[in-house]
């Protein structure tokens, strides 16, 4: 009689095939897990990239900037638009330099106004378009040195802040200029965190603010500023660390006493009011003697006043730059 329960030898999987299948499955698990790990790595750790398509700036000139003594045109290789727009310190959007661009992508600047007020004869709330008409945009190629130890060379578009300040006629009592960034956690998601005391505020001494190098910038590479670089209007003070260049400005106020500044409030022993680039005065936690120029390999020496000593050193004559860092 035939035993129906007995499995014939023919039906048993050949051990060679059995172990092959096992190995096959294992290879599959191995590959799938590696892909999954890779996906997690990519998700958590990817450098930024993207296109910049902001409007071209009309009537941009270089005419006023040909004299080398002005410092308006640095003759060094310019940092790529890609790097300038995807490596940003702008905590209002993200504390991760590689993520600011994506976080700021849809930032709306329509109807932007800047209030210029305080100790002036003609205070005014400017619509952005009116503000930009105060003076024709010039291209200025400046070094930008971040307090973190990296630097760029950036072709800005804008005009000297002095043009705006003169237009509102400062009073004699005005000794400082205080700046303020937009406060709107809905549009600037980084402001929902308490990383810094919002809104971001900065300040300059009157003579620093009136210096021709001090720029009110509305563009880079001949295009309107993308959100991640401080749209629609920002400050550029090339001989100071980058954090002095306050972005997305809504208020400029002329005052009699030294205004408070955000990074100074966050860590007074690390970030001073002046924040002049100075290779001889180290940050308490790292050296400022050298810098990583973005796009170059190896570090280069940092220059006194970021290479603008000829233009600005006299502003600080007799001042102890170690005490007033």
């Amino acid at each position: 009689m035939k035993d129906s329960n007995k499995i014939s030898d023919k039906e048993i999987t050949d051990p060679v095939i059995y172990f092959n299948r096992r190995n096959f499955i294992r290879a599959g698990i191995l590959a799938a897990s590696a892909v999954a790990t890779g996906a997690v790595y990519r998700q958590l750790n990817h450098p930024a990239a993207g296109k910049i398509n902001t409007a071209r700036i009309e009537g941009l000139t270089k005419s006023a900037t040909t004299n080398a003594a002005t410092g308006f045109q640095v003759a060094e290789a310019q940092t790529s638009l890609q790097d300038i727009t995807h490596y940003n310190n702008f905590y209002e959007f993200s504390t991760d330099k590689e993520r600011v661009a994506s976080s700021a992508a849809n930032f709306e600047t329509k109807g932007w106004q800047v209030s210029v007020e305080g100790l002036v004869r003609k205070p005014k709330v400017f619509d952005l378009d009116d503000l930009l008409k105060i003076s024709a945009p010039e291209e200025r190629v400046y070094r930008m040195r971040c307090v973190e130890g990296w630097s760029m060379v950036i072709p800005w578009a804008g005009f000297s802040l002095s043009k705006l300040l003169s237009a509102v006629e400062p009073l004699d009592e005005a000794k400082y200029v205080a700046f303020e960034t937009l406060l709107d956690p809905k549009r600037m998601p980084g402001q929902r965190s308490g990383v810094l005391n919002w809104p971001y505020v900065e300040g300059l001494r009157m003579d620093e603010a009136m210096h021709p190098l001090t720029l009110l910038a509305s563009g880079i590479y001949g295009r309107a500023l993308p959100p991640q670089d401080g749209a629609p209007i920002r400050l550029v003070v090339p001989w100071k660390y980058g954090f002095k260049g306050i972005k997305s400005i809504v208020k400029i106020k002329l005052v009699a006493t030294q205004p408070r500044t955000t990074w100074n409030e966050a860590a007074a022993n690390e970030y001073g009011f002046y924040a002049n680039v100075n290779p001889r005065v180290d940050h308490p936690r790292w050296s400022q003697a050298t810098e990583q120029r973005i796009g170059e390999s190896g570090r280069r020496p940092t220059l006194m006043f970021n290479g603008y000593a000829e233009q600005v050193a006299q502003l600080y004559a007799g001042m102890d730059l170690r005490a007033n860092f």
């Binding site: 897990s33 790595y41 330099k97 936690r285 570090r299």
Partner: protein, 212 residues
């Protein structure tokens, strides 16, 4: 788990731990490390070293709580990867940030407290990596080996503080690492405090078990 399964599990861990290093090297080769590639690589390898230190410290609590004794196999691999990423972290700093200048590296280290802490973490891991082989465990004896390997706590604490100290303002990530580390070390402290008090005279001589 049979020996064959264990071998496979070991391979699985070995390969997956190498994935971040592989992708980092691949991205570097294709100029896809962003605007500041050196900084990106230093940050990534440092982060990996900390993550692998945490994973290494997770094995023992997880094993004790879950009863999955077999997962102990992964501890050595995870620990060695932590050491590997820490070495890469230091070498990229030394080679690309300091241009292979010993004097510049040393002068930076002396001046910066966070670099002293980072170097401490790395140096402490050297004897642990050297004594990670079966032969070394035998030679040292379980008890001494275990005592030595408690240095991993020093490495982890120094590593997390090293990270915390160089962050400019956003301390959320270093604090997350500190929290995880506090839980992992807190667990060990509680286990230690609640250990049964054995009287030396009657306590049986236990075979050395490999735990740290």
């Amino acid at each position: 788990m049979n020996a064959n399964d264990l071998r496979f599990a070991r391979l699985l861990v070995l390969v997956n731990c190498a994935v971040p290093a592989t992708l980092l090297a691949w991205d570097a080769g294709h100029h896809k490390l962003g605007a500041n590639p050196v900084n990106f690589a230093i940050l990534t390898t440092g982060m990996m070293a900390l993550i692998f230190l945490m994973l290494t410290l997770l094995v023992t609590p997880l094993r004790k709580i879950s009863g999955w004794n077999w997962i102990i196999f992964s501890r050595r691999t995870l620990g060695l990867y932590a050491f590997f990423y820490a070495c890469a972290h230091f070498l990229i700093f030394f080679g690309f940030d300091r241009s292979f200048s010993v004097s510049s590296t040393l002068s930076e280290m002396v001046k910066r407290k966070y670099l002293i802490l980072g170097s401490t973490a790395l140096l402490v891991m050297v004897p642990l990596a050297v004594t990670s082989t079966n032969a070394m465990i035998k030679r040292l004896g379980g008890k001494r080996w275990r005592a030595l390997h408690r240095l991993v706590y020093v490495a982890a604490i120094a590593g997390v503080i090293h990270y915390y100290m160089q962050v400019k303002a956003d301390v959320r990530k270093p604090l997350a690492f500190a929290t995880v580390l506090a839980i992992l070390l807190g667990y060990r402290l509680i286990v230690y405090l609640r250990r049964p008090k054995a009287t030396p005279a009657t306590a049986p001589v236990a075979k050395p078990k490999l735990e740290a």
